[in-house]
Symmetry: C2
Subunit: 659 residues, 2 copies
């Protein structure tokens, strides 16, 4: 059951697709502490879930999360904000399960037992929000009861019914993709593909980061580095490999650049208070930001994707759309002035940190976010009042255009910044993570929250974007990412190159990737089922064994679809790990794509050796895992030749959602 | 057995105290790859230990560590250098155990399976080093065989014999200490003590961070904030509480400031190439660095501690002695010039990051470390050739002075930067960590390496220095730190205040601190035993159960002394953890200092519930744990009234090393 409450005069985010009758006041379990602060008591046994893409564990108790889309590549535990704003929380305790969706595009704080271990505070930026209270009674009209229905999954399904069906990507988006910020030319891309071919490692896509563009200008090609782009795309498509270019939010200010000139002419850019176009800087230097809140601007910008679609491109990633601001013209001027004032002084602790801070402060400055405006539903609204919607609206521009430009084709689309609602137009990757073992664990822990919020198509930069990856970390990370819908190896310029073929044990890597391809029919089928029935594709143990405290504490094992549980190794220099089985399961051990052991195990703790070349999967009682022969691309997968691994279930009890 | 090899013309670091005959060439298992690069093959089963204070796990395989003392407060997994340089590694495999000590004060890289999973590369900065090869045959004259003697502990004991006996602190240094960068006045300190008294939580020391000084000048007192300092110290000592002031490496340049003027007059400061005093900046702004490599300078600076000793102070922490450099006079000038060149430009990706980097680059710049000189053993030597010894020499200055100034008294001393050899003069804390759960785990994992290298008196900033601490993190951290010799709660200005009395469940905290005081006789006795017999006070499981692969993989359990194993909880929102017992042990469960459960457990995996107010200890078979009644200070501990908890051993089998 969904109840809707209105606080003040909120902005309609268009994240919700159902008309819900408005109830008066606010939910009775939420106490208004002050104009913008609300408090929910948390019993000792309460667990809090949700918030999508955030730091820390699956149970969100014990930290202060701030929904404020931020370009910050250092995702340590003490960060409050990442790239996304997913304001859905779910509170469970033995007596009650309830979800809240705090629908406001402004900065929103969830203090979940940080200030007071037993209280959850919600702090709004202004006293305006839609609040949805969601309880487990199903009111949607989707007939199939999901297998693991319980109060938690029911609240999630209600919420997902409220916000609409999740984006479904094309099949090739489940293939393995290679990416790196630093591929400089057509030759670099050819070389990557050739090396994958020579290593006989499956590959479905290669990503084009910012260097494919001419001077980082959206919808342009660097013709020197990528001559005959259309032929280039075609030559690679012949190998069944897709090129996936990046699109950034900022449009370079440059006379003669068509997108810039059209934007000026069509009045598509965000304005300062005085009506002039706001100038920020990102990769190309000075840019304007398209005002994606205007339908006409979305239409214009969305249509621009056809520049690449027409060249054979069928997938994109939208980046820098928090929006990231390296500096604004005004902010940089002020910084220079400030810096000048320190020259020639004896800088002590205070003045030195002020000096150093003056430069740091130009990046993603709150002041800048308060200095430009959007036109939304006929009103001029300051950016910070809409901030968390910007990435959503950019990706919506693309999604709306794809529906028009290629209605019969699924286009791959995922974004860095997101707000709930964007899940209907694309997926997300979890941004600029690092080659840290702790980020492999973070990756595991972010997936359930993203799934709750509708972002089924998601994944992390496998191997880590920043910092230097090691072979063992990459192997262990592959063994996790083969279960995530988005499966991309991506790394940053200046870090160790981490294409799989560069490491001594590329045969081990090949084996793991091949297993992914064997799993694709299962993964895609389970993904479709989750998308169509508003279910989660990836679930934490606590959503299946709610009353088993051990299971609920276990935040390093996940259900992937309805048949299997994974228990990844995310620690260096270990030969295995302890796995908790809440019920008897069948352990399947794979060396690469070869099943080497299949053994029923009783409930309880088990130490499971897992070498670097192995993947271990746990098949639930009464369930089936379909596997096909691997291929080197999804296009070549033979989905008709299925092997079924069963645990007290018959082969035909598994029905492919979309065989 | 210890063999000594000489490579090139190394600098004598005075870290070694034994005369070892020189063998020709280099150890036969070390291959010279190039002039400065050496390679050791690592069999698949090889584990590598040592390196003291570093990031990551106990087994050092899988990363590239660079000994280069660095003031960097963000200790993520991808950092190569922390504050210390501890060039001792220990390689174990089923066939052989060998240790190497690479004795050079220059930057030294240990690439342990990073570039190649099966090779260990040692890269020197110049082809000059003493190399000690240590094998398990004991040649020292210490009669007592340590209980858990095996090839690993024997190599460690040989190494420790080589480098001399570890620093032993006074008993009060085992008490609990409260610290914060941000105590501004005498009143702040009184208030902290009063709150601890009112909360009835034991407390032995309060730390004075940089604000007790007049303008951050070493050996001065801010008289406005701390009037009548001597009376103040005395009034607190009456409560059996010790004040522990910080001492920084840099001496403020200020006419009329006695330390500065004496330094100039005595020619005690580091010089630039042209013979003028090198100007760097740290807390006070512009400073000179004392040239601690000169015996006369050490004597002069060491004697300065009497300024505080005479006021009743009996403990210090030496900080900023990597040395940290916020900027140098020359470096800052260049940065301003560079910044000016960017003004008015359209800064694109490259130029913007150059601009932003220009400021970042002034901190701890390699160029600065190459621009000043020391006088060492009669030679003028550029700083980078001696870099890793600077903190050691500073602390040695203090240690040598204490021996002279107060030969009959133990003075508490620990340092941030360190090199092997410094362990004879003081302990270390692990620097500016963060309030991260992952740093609680890092804390656990750093202790064995520090112990191997002789830094028995060590500990982390409990609760985390940077970032905001939560109650649950602090409780779990206390439950670890009650086992570390140095036990200090310390946090940074601007972070959440984390004195224990500020949290709702201070009664739980009180209980855990009281357990520490009950344990002190055991801890001090085991510490003394380790110090006197060159043993480790804290050991990893792999040093006790070498041939048990599970035990060796287990890097989140530790032996503390010879009787007990700890298995701390370092994960948020869990009700317990899985513990691996390599052999049967007795589990002791404490709620605060009250023993609530005592149960023998068989070898194997056990899930152990541990609530936030509990501490669980595992008592080894055939061992005894002595406990006393807690008191509110170490001075009030009655060490005669001992309760013995036994696991198949008799009470009198436990002999206090120093009852």
């Amino acid at each position: 059951m969904i109840k809707k409450y209105i606080l003040g005069e909120p902005i309609d985010t268009e994240s919700v697709v159902q008309n819900i009758e408005v109830s008066p006041g606010i939910p009775k379990e939420i106490a208004e502490v002050s104009e913008c602060t609300f408090c929910i008591e948390m019993p000792e046994d309460a667990r809090v879930y949700g918030l999508g893409e955030t730091v820390r564990g699956i149970n969100k108790r014990g930290w202060r999360y701030i929904s404020n889309c931020t370009d910050d590549p250092i995702h340590t535990e003490s960060k409050n904000s990442l790239y996304a704003a997913h304001n859905f929380i779910l509170i469970w305790n033995k007596k009650k399960t309830v979800g809240y969706y705090i629908d406001t595009p402004e900065k929103t704080e969830f203090d979940i037992g940080y200030t007071d271990p037993d209280r959850l505070f919600i702090r709004l930026n202004s006293p305006n929000a839609y609040i949805y209270e969601i309880t487990p009674d199903l009111t949607d009209n989707k007939s199939k009861a999901c297998e693991s229905d319980n109060p938690l999954t029911k609240v999630v399904r209600q919420f997902r019914y409220l916000i609409g069906q999740s984006y479904i990507p094309p099949l090739f988006a489940f293939g393995y993709g290679q990416s790196r910020w630093g591929y400089k030319s057509r030759e670099d891309i050819y070389s990557v593909i050739k090396e994958y071919e020579e290593a006989d490692i499956p590959l479905d896509s290669v990503y084009l980061d910012i260097d494919y563009m001419d001077s980082f200008k959206d919808f342009t090609i660097n013709e020197d580095a990528y001559p005959d782009f259309e032929d280039f795309v075609e030559s690679i498509r012949k190998k069944n490999i897709h090129l996936i270019p990046i699109i950034d939010a900022g449009v370079k200010i440059e006379d003669g650049y068509d997108v810039y000139e059209e934007g000026i002419k069509g009045d598509h850019f965000c304005k300062k208070e005085d009506g002039t176009n706001f100038v920020a800087a990102v990769w190309p230097g000075r840019v304007h930001f398209p005002d994606f809140f205007k339908p006409a601007t979305r239409e214009w910008f969305g249509e621009k994707y056809s520049f690449l679609l027409d060249k054979g491109i069928d997938g994109f990633w939208n980046d820098m759309n928090e929006p990231a601001i390296f500096y604004s013209e005004d902010g940089l001027r002020e910084a220079f002035e400030k810096i000048r004032s320190f020259e020639g002084q004896n800088l002590d602790i205070n003045s030195f940190f002020e000096f150093a801070g003056a430069v740091e402060a130009v990046k993603n400055s709150p002041k800048d976010y308060e200095s430009f405006y959007h036109e939304y539903k006929g009103k001029k609204i300051r950016h910070d009042k809409l901030h968390n919607l910007y990435g959503y609206m950019m990706t919506r521009a693309a999604g709306e255009a794809f529906e028009k430009l290629c209605p019969d084709k699924r286009i791959l689309m995922f974004s860095r910044a997101s707000y709930i609602g964007m899940h209907r137009y694309g997926g997300v990757w979890t941004g600029d993570n690092q080659s840290w073992w702790s980020h492999l664990l973070l990756n595991i822990r972010q997936l359930p929250g993203l799934n709750m919020c509708g972002f089924l198509y998601s994944g992390a930069d496998t191997g880590g974007f920043g910092a230097d990856c090691t072979e063992d970390l990459l192997l262990r990370w592959l063994a996790v990412s083969i279960f995530t819908p988005l499966f991309r190896n991506h790394s940053a310029m200046g870090t160790r190159q981490q294409e799989l073929y560069r490491f001594p044990h590329k045969d081990w890597m090949r084996g793991i990737i091949r297993l992914r391809y064997s799993l694709i029919p299962y993964l895609y089928s389970e993904f479709m089922r989750a998308a169509l029935y508003d279910d989660m594709f990836i679930k934490p143990l606590s959503f299946v064994y709610m009353d088993d405290e051990r299971a609920c504490d276990t935040e390093d094992q996940l259900f992937v679809g309805e048949s299997i549980m994974i228990a990844p190794v995310y620690t260096q220099n270990v030969s295995g790990r302890t796995v908790y089985l809440p019920e008897p399961m069948k352990m399947l051990r794979f060396e690469g794509d070869i099943l080497t052991e299949e053994i029923e195990m009783p409930a309880g703790d088990h130490y499971i050796p897992v070498s670097l070349k192995e993947v271990v999967i746990f098949l639930r009682h009464g369930h089936v895992l379909p596997l096909v022969k691997p291929a080197n691309t999804t296009a070549e997968l033979d989905q008709s030749d299925v092997t079924y691994i069963c645990n007290n279930a018959s082969e035909d009890s598994y029905v492919m959602a979309f065989p």
